[in-house]
Symmetry: C2
Subunit: 333 residues, 2 copies
């Protein structure tokens, strides 16, 4: 089952979307919003599933689904927690800085609490008031949970995952060092993230969803050229069950909590830093990683951060190159 929120008010209008993303059926008679559905999932999800089946069978009125009409599936949420599960990425960034990475980073997930009061839709521009802030994309996989009890195990956490999707976790790189030095995490350096047009139930992903990971390549294009093709199922040190359980160690997580993987990142085939797609590698899911590799190779980063007018595209394909979650496609403006 694929769910989306068409732009409408602050919380969108819940629709069920066909598997090929071509059509939608209004779900308003079942539940007005996706948050409402997550709040009452046991009761609502079966009805939404029936609607999805009817849509597949063309048994109900349907409308054309246009990705640019979609808000973020949760246009605002009550919680957004982002991990750094691809520790390879963290190790690389540290290496470029000449900073040692604590060994504990391989066992204890890095995670920050992000702002969830207003997310960008998949085709919304990335607002950027000042290019000197060093605006970067971060291509990630996310999950949305139901209620998670405090102290949940990894298995309990996995069972609480309701939906899977993608995010562009926009980062202002030049504001990060000063904020992180204060120790209190990100506030100014993490403006609103954008999300894929649809979120998908794990069962609808079949074999691509296993071991708490999405086993597909995360496609990232920058200004129309292939930039990242890393496999989200590879080099993910902490699966989503582990990330959700980490977040729930001392407190319950409310239904509709979004948990992110952190920037997807694969090692190169030889175990070293990834190479650009143009050089036969799987590339990168953020500019910071490319700049890090450049710094390791040539002493300094060469690729600039995002400028006004740059375009970012993030998506995942099935075996026939059809989009699974729809595409995040944003212009910096």
């Amino acid at each position: 089952m694929k769910l989306a929120s068409l732009k409408h008010g602050r919380d969108g209008r819940l629709v069920v979307v066909s598997d090929d993303l071509a059509w939608y059926a209004d779900a308003g008679h079942i539940c007005a919003t996706l948050q409402g559905a997550l709040d009452d999932w046991e009761r609502v999800a079966p009805d939404l599933a029936v609607l999805a089946t009817d849509l597949r069978n063309e048994a109900i009125p349907r409308e054309r689904f246009h990705e640019h009409d979609a808000a973020a599936p949760l246009p605002r949420a009550h919680q957004w927690l982002d991990g750094s599960a691809y520790v390879n990425h963290v190790a690389l960034v540290r290496q470029a800085r000449g900073a040692e990475m604590p060994e504990s980073f391989w066992h204890d997930p890095l995670m920050y609490q992000g702002g969830s009061d207003g997310f960008l839709g998949p085709r919304d521009a990335i607002p950027l008031a000042d290019e000197s802030w060093g605006c970067d994309l971060e291509g990630e996989v996310v999950v949305v949970t139901g209620d998670v009890p405090p102290g949940a195990t990894r298995d309990e956490a996995l069972a609480a995952i309701r939906l899977v999707g993608l995010t562009n976790d926009v980062s202002l790189r030049h504001l990060i060092p000063a904020e992180l030095a204060k120790g209190f995490g990100f506030v100014q350096s993490k403006p609103a993230s954008a999300f894929s047009p649809v979120f998908v139930t794990p069962d609808a992903l079949g074999d691509w969803w296993r071991d708490g990971k999405l086993h597909r390549r995360l496609m990232v294009d920058l200004n129309g050229a292939p930039f990242g093709r890393a496999d989200a199922g590879v080099d993910m040190t902490f699966d989503f069950g582990t990330l959700v359980a980490h977040a729930a160690k001392t407190r319950a997580l409310g239904a509709g909590t979004i948990v992110g993987s952190g920037t997807v990142s694969n090692r190169d085939a030889d175990g070293g830093p990834g190479r650009p797609v143009a050089e036969g590698g799987v590339g990168y899911s953020c500019l910071a990683e490319l700049r890090t590799v450049e710094a390791i190779r040539s002493g300094e980063p060469l690729t600039p951060f995002l400028k006004k007018g740059d375009t970012v595209r993030i998506w995942v394909e099935d075996d026939r190159h059809h989009s699974v979650f729809g595409a995040i496609e944003q212009v910096v403006g």
Copy 2:
């Protein structure tokens, strides 16, 4: 005007409360929830104000208001940002650790993004699975904003403040050092916060609300004994206008954003660390500060963190010793 949410579902049931906190009138015919009212404040607030006047004049049906029936005014929110505006408190804690405080801390607010997916009501127990986590109270003032545009000035931020209230920002002190060392802020070390039974519009606070500060003493009792009597209007280095503008530097803040002051803390009359209430001082709004003072005086902290069965009470009084926001009164359980 004083607003509360009676316990009901995930978002409570909006009521208007009398100035003396004795009575309430249901506001459901105007707006079902406080979040809904904040989403549409320009339209809804005048109607709520009329209801408050009618309640004052006993012109409408009213019911007894019991603080233990209240949820947090926003039982869940879309954003909770907590500052550390009483820099004196930060300086003290650092001094006890032997760590120097950067001079920038006097100009650049410390602020973290907290979890907002589920808050505790004012009389809810503080869930504590493990006493070794070092559970602490933190008595703070909070404001709730309307929509704040990105890059808002301090004056614009001040004008966007809709409500003022109190919080007990529960902290797990022994989990903090390891999380802060990672640089990504608090996740496990900040479980759900509790809020005062009512939030109050700034105009209803009269002269107590000025310069973006609440000029009243924050009363904190621990196990029935006076623990803190610090004036929230004193030694607050960053006022709420500055804190909100800090949060909005690179992004909009959605209506219903809660911004906290951080632990209220006053210097002693001689400029040194505050003394306990029993020694004629204004005491403390968290155990960590008392433990810090103990460490400075005698080489080690003496007072333990919260244990199961301990009670915490946080409130503010008017000149006749009547409660302004109602009391947060929690047992550790």
